[in-house]
């Protein structure tokens, strides 16, 4: 089991965003295909840089295990003559399977006894198997976008230049023959373009460490994790040299890992005059064009940035000076746009929105703005913050104005942020500029929710309007198809409701939002939001059955459902709830089958049912108060007090008794129980999981 295998594909630069997926696919598909042949390697690792994908496998057998395969043949009655000798058919089968006549056996087939041949399938040499696997796996790796090159005969993420495939016992000593994209396999790859532009022969490599070392000597740090650590260490050190820290940007830091073969960083310095620009403008300019990290000191932006580079050093300072020059030029450009924008009042920018279409069938952004305004005002009234109406009207009218600004034209990722800055500079009150700045928060799962009431209302109203508008056109996301990112918008609405929180039932909000579109699509939107709320609750850590039980009873106030669900999650596995789940399941079944009867406790005569009726009335009185106080744990405990009387009821009382009036009263009692539970949770849904 000392077989080692190395595969490396050297390409032209692969897009950074395609690499993590390619690594995952390569590892899992090769592993699966080996497993299908009964091979479990001791170690299987994949690595990549911007120019290569590689696979290291060790602890492989020389060949796949031998195995016995049983091939079923004709029925015994056909294969054997009455005298017990083989018929021509029987002999033919044995010959066809290549086994001796006397080796045939009789086994039970699906339709009776048949003859069977047991064949010894010899193991396959691993190099052959590996070659076959890679020929299947590599061309079928999925990439966001593929291309052809040269004569146009092959399709892959980028043109392929080298294929290394080496096998050996203990050390790599044999080229595994295969040809991918017209490139035959060999033993040599290429080093880093600048550090070591020549060939690196991998023949004779004995272990993974040696492979990584040979590439490292050639300027290539193959392991993304090693690059990640180096970049992090170097960033911290470069920042510390000037008494700063790195402003965290995990997405960009991950991209840096994938952009290079050698993890290099240089620190550049900015002219301090640029720090007069809003922080967001400086950061976005440097990030957008040069993928630079910025440094900060005491929380404020410092005049330094870090640029990634694909080399270990900067021998003549060109890399630093070049990046500094680019940063200056880009910031000068951004400064120009910022100054141009400041010449135009936001109201004038907003006027331009009449010509900017939100959607071909849904009119302009100006129309959208007026719908958002109306919806925001309605929501404010319902929330009891009518005093914010004026602010919300202004904010809604100006919310999309920055789409007409130069800055957002250049940097779409600054939408909202620029509007907020321009509104503040335009002298609008905090409630207004903060709402504009926060309207795009959160972006689905990412980022925080708004911190201001006006921002939360405006943000929710904007997304609800988008959702209602597109649902009215039947643009409902399905499967992987969600071109308008409606799932993200819906999750943002739920998060604002749940995390800000906004105490406003989403069912009402959906109705208001759908009004301008004649209400069409509203029911679909409501259930869409409810599904997003389920995602939200589980994302916040509720066990799936608990989220399910709560949402079966209520939805649309995600903060309440979350708190209630958390209380239920603490209780649901206690014995009393297990008992309650079973009993409540019976209640629901009975009521759904036989109807809700009528509430007539005076007709109930048996001890067990009178007792349950009393308990129900007591619980009903206390529950209303606990729900109003959002005392979820106590409310659930109160419901749990019905477990015992319910069990006794079902043991002692026959609901479907011959007396029709009594039957109706008993059903009425159960319907009452159901109503109480469904203020909180359909606990019957907890049953299966228990």
């Amino acid at each position: 089991m000392s077989g080692v295998f190395l595969f490396e594909l050297l390409c032209e630069e692969i897009p950074a965003n395609a690499l993590p997926g390619a690594r995952r696919q390569l590892a899992s598909r090769v592993r699966d295909k080996l497993a299908a042949e009964g091979v479990e390697p001791a170690r299987l690792d994949v690595f990549s840089t911007s120019r290569r994908l590689s696979l290291w496998v060790e602890g492989l057998p020389k060949a796949t295990p031998e195995r016995v395969e049983e091939v079923l043949g004709p029925p015994v009655s056909v294969a054997y003559a009455p005298d017990g000798s083989l018929t021509r058919a029987g002999e033919g089968f044995a010959r066809a399977q290549g086994v001796a006549l006397e080796a045939l056996e009789v086994v039970a087939g699906p339709k009776g006894k048949v003859v069977a041949a047991k064949k010894l399938i010899p193991g396959r040499a691993l190099p052959d198997l590996l070659s076959e696997i890679l020929l299947q796996v590599v061309p079928s790796l999925h990439f966001p976008k593929t291309m052809r090159w040269g004569e146009g005969n092959f399709t892959f993420v980028r043109p392929v230049h080298r294929v290394v495939a080496l096998w050996g016992q203990g050390q790599l000593a044999e080229i595994v023959r295969l040809s991918l994209f017209g490139v035959p396999s060999g033993s040599a790859t290429l080093g880093h373009r600048v550090v070591h532009p020549g060939e690196v022969d991998l023949f004779g490599v004995a272990n993974l460490e040696e492979y990584l070392r040979r590439l490292a000597t050639a300027g290539v740090v193959l392991d993304p994790q090693a690059r990640r650590e180096t970049l992090r260490r170097r960033a911290a050190a470069l920042a510390a040299e000037v008494g700063c820290t790195v402003r965290s940007d995990p997405t960009l830091e991950e991209e840096h890992v994938e952009l290079v073969e050698h993890p290099g960083l240089v620190r550049g310095e900015l002219d301090r005059t640029w720090l007069a620009l809003p922080e967001e403008v400086v950061i976005t300019t440097l990030r957008h064009h040069q993928k630079c990290l910025v440094l900060e000191k005491g929380g404020a932006l410092a005049p330094y940035f870090l640029a990634v580079c694909d080399r270990p050093d900067d021998p003549e300072g060109h890399v630093r000076r070049g990046n500094e020059w680019v940063a200056e030029a880009r910031l000068a450009d951004a400064h120009f746009f910022f100054q141009e924008d400041l010449k135009v009042p936001l109201t004038a920018m907003a006027e331009k929105l009449t010509t900017v279409a939100f959607h071909a069938k849904l009119g302009s952004y100006a129309e959208k703005a007026s719908r958002i305004e109306q919806l925001a005002v309605t929501m404010a009234e319902a929330l009891g913050v009518s005093e914010l109406e004026g602010f919300l009207r202004t904010a809604a009218r100006l919310a999309k104005a920055d789409l007409g600004s130069h800055m957002v034209g250049e940097f779409p990722e600054l939408q909202g942020v620029m509007g907020g800055i321009y509104a503040q500079k335009g002298g609008y009150p905090r409630e207004v500029f903060q709402a504009i700045a926060e309207q795009y928060l959160p972006a689905g799962q990412e980022g925080p929710v708004p911190t201001s009431v006006t921002g939360a209302i405006l943000g929710a109203a904007d997304r609800l309007d988008t959702l209602a508008a597109l649902f009215s056109l039947g643009e409902v996301p399905s499967g992987s198809k969600d071109p308008f990112a409606l799932r993200r918008h819906a999750l943002s609405v739920v998060r604002i409701g749940g995390e800000f929180p906004l105490n406003l039932p989403l069912a009402d909000a959906v109705r208001w939002a759908a009004q301008p579109f004649g209400g069409s699509g509203a029911p679909e939107l409501a259930s869409f939001l409810r599904e997003r709320e389920r995602f939200f609750l589980e994302w916040k850590g509720l066990p799936a059955p608990v989220a399910d039980a709560v949402l079966a009873a209520r939805w649309g106030l995600p903060a309440d459902e979350l708190a209630l669900g958390q209380a239920l999650a603490r209780l649901w596995q206690e014995p009393v709830f297990v008992q309650l789940a079973t009993a409540f399941k019976r209640v629901r079944n009975r009521v759904s089958k036989e109807g809700e009867g009528e509430w007539a406790p005076e007709r109930l005569g048996e001890e067990a049912e009178r007792r349950l009726a009393q308990e129900v009335q007591r619980v009903e009185r206390q529950l209303a108060e606990l729900v109003a106080e959002k005392a979820w744990e106590q409310a659930l405990a109160l419901l749990a007090s019905l477990a015992e009387p319910l069990d006794r009821f079902f043991t002692e009382v026959l609901v479907m008794c011959p007396d029709a009036a009594l039957r109706q009263a008993r059903l009425g009692l159960l319907a009452k129980v159901q109503g109480l539970f469904l203020q909180l949770a359909d606990v019957s849904r907890l049953q299966q999981a228990n």
Binding site: P15, V194, V319, F336
Partner: protein, 313 residues
């Protein structure tokens, strides 16, 4: 190869590097690619948005015939014009366009060598190829490739053409497009395009600033919208008429499509095009471009794809 030995303190001057004048950048690159089998062509004598629209690219990449060509193309983007006030943007800039068909195996190495013609030693710099795909809805064309970053500066667009005129391409052409002003700015470390030395003592601004001011004013304020629309329609009819000839007139049809494209760009800069209309106008240009591409291919086929026999141009 021209080497100018002017000592720029603020420039890119390393031990071995001398920043070049804009003019020398152009001459060196054309010489470099000319020596590597490219036909050195001239700019197309019409307003175009990019070197890709030149028939030496748009048509030559179609069909099986090999081709190698290099040329400078003044490229007009009226909406990018900034009245000569922005240090970084122009309404008309210079592209140096190279087409290598089929794309050679060593195309990236060739490109890196071309940087030496600019006085840049790639081993002393950070050169990265970052994903940047290209698409031209008006030409029904798209490609996959990178922007090439030199020390953080985007100096070249590098594209493997996959489709043009709505037709799948085979073989595949590599297109290398150098943004000449930005390269010169970067080499000379100027913070404004207008300070770039066209030749020593003659800044870019002295040559081109007035054009930028006037072209901006024209595109944003003066252009006659009704006239532009009328001409858009006229050229559309004219283009299709050329293709309806018994022996279709390919070049005149392409020129009509280029006119339409430029008129559309002017209309857009003028703020006369709504979002929905935009899509419709682009589709009309594309329709003519696609029809022209088909007609070109048919014409070459009738001629027996003459450059196939001739080998590389």
């Amino acid at each position: 190869m021209f080497v100018v030995n002017s000592p720029f303190d603020a420039g890119l001057c390393g031990r071995r590097e001398v920043p070049l004048e804009l003019q020398t950048v152009i001459l060196n690159l054309l010489e470099f690619w000319g020596e590597r089998g490219c036909l050195v062509q001239q700019p197309y004598d019409m307003e175009v948005g990019a070197g890709t629209m030149h028939p030496e690219t748009f048509l030559r990449v179609l069909g099986p015939e090999p081709y190698r060509v290099a040329y400078v193309q003044p490229s007009r983007r009226p909406a990018d014009a900034r009245f000569g006030e922005n240090p970084f943007r122009l309404g008309k800039h210079l592209q140096l366009q190279v087409i290598l068909k089929p794309s050679p195996e060593e195309v990236q190495e060739l490109y890196l060598e071309s940087l030496k013609a600019l006085g840049i030693d790639p081993t002393m710099h950070d050169v990265r190829f970052e994903e940047d795909n290209w698409e031209s809805p008006t030409l029904g064309a798209w490609g996959v490739g990178w922007q090439v970053l030199l020390d953080g500066m985007e100096i070249t667009q590098f594209t493997y053409f996959q489709q043009a005129g709505g037709l799948d391409l085979k073989p595949i052409s590599a297109e290398i497009t150098y943004g000449l002003e930005r390269i010169a700015m970067f080499l000379q470390r100027k913070t404004s395009i207008y300070d770039v030395e066209w030749v020593a003592g003659v800044p870019y601004g002295a040559v081109r600033h007035r054009d930028e001011v006037e072209l901006s004013r024209y595109a944003f304020h003066v252009a006659d919208v009704a006239m532009l629309r009328r001409h858009f329609e006229d050229w559309e009819r004219e283009g299709f008429r050329c293709l309806e000839e018994e022996d279709p007139l390919v070049i005149p049809a392409l020129e009509a499509a280029l006119k339409m494209s430029h008129l559309f760009n002017l209309l857009e800069a003028r703020g006369a095009v709504s979002t929905t209309e935009r899509v419709a106008l682009i589709a009309r240009v594309r329709k003519l471009a696609v029809a022209t591409a088909k007609a070109y291919l048919a014409q070459r086929e009738r001629a027996g794809f003459p450059l196939l026999a001739a080998g590389a141009a």
